[in-house]
Symmetry: C2
Subunit: 153 residues, 2 copies
Amino acid sequence: MHRALQLAQASADAGEVPVGAVIVRDGVEIAAAANAMRAAKDPTAHAEMEAIRQAARVLGNERLDGCDLWVTLEPCPMCAGAISHARIARVYYAAPDPKGGGVDHGPRVFAHPTCHHRPEVYSGLGESPASAMLKTFFADRREKFARLARGNA
Amino acid sequence: MHRALQLAQASADAGEVPVGAVIVRDGVEIAAAANAMRAAKDPTAHAEMEAIRQAARVLGNERLDGCDLWVTLEPCPMCAGAISHARIARVYYAAPDPKGGGVDHGPRVFAHPTCHHRPEVYSGLGESPASAMLKTFFADRREKFARLARGNA
């Protein structure tokens, strides 16, 4: 999770919502990515999606059997769907996301009988630094917008 | 929808689950894709995802405001999540997917208060040919597997 947190910090530094993800197989990191929605101008470029696509390229297989995903924020419904399609074995997420999460909040993608593959899910490890990073990022952004609004007034 | 059905047929011919998707803005097609999960060895390469990523590249923007998505099968939870992130205005899907859909079945991604953007959803146009194509594809695949199993017996 330490590595995922480093990636999240890198995405914050680049002006993205700070989320990082790492995929590990047999104890070896095979993919790592930071959220890049804005830089890539791609609405699907969440950290988890980028890491999953990278890992599939590395393994030459669209199924990531036996792989673990470590991510700093609870996956959204899109990422939860991709995790299921990719057959990821275990998901470890740091901070819960009551406003946008799709695993333990909102649509709870893995909880439905139509979900074809359910990973094991563990949460909380690294929650404090992951949450602090997100709070700082959104507070800075609000302050920046407020400053811009004052400048335009 | 005719164009999306042509793309679905192309994906069937390539051995993929037959799904096609087209994105239209102001009456002009800006992106079109067929399901390519197996060919691309990418668990995220559903037709809708590929079309959304293409359209974002074309517009140079991760938000596809005012765009319509035409797709031959009800989007899964992953694709529904991406549709929401991309701010697509209207979704037209042909065949319902009670086993894997995420719009009107299973997690019903757009139905939760935490869903930040809900497109208008219309369904049924082109349902017969889209369903027929899927049925033929899966029947052929079952027959092929049965033949292989007999050959190996």
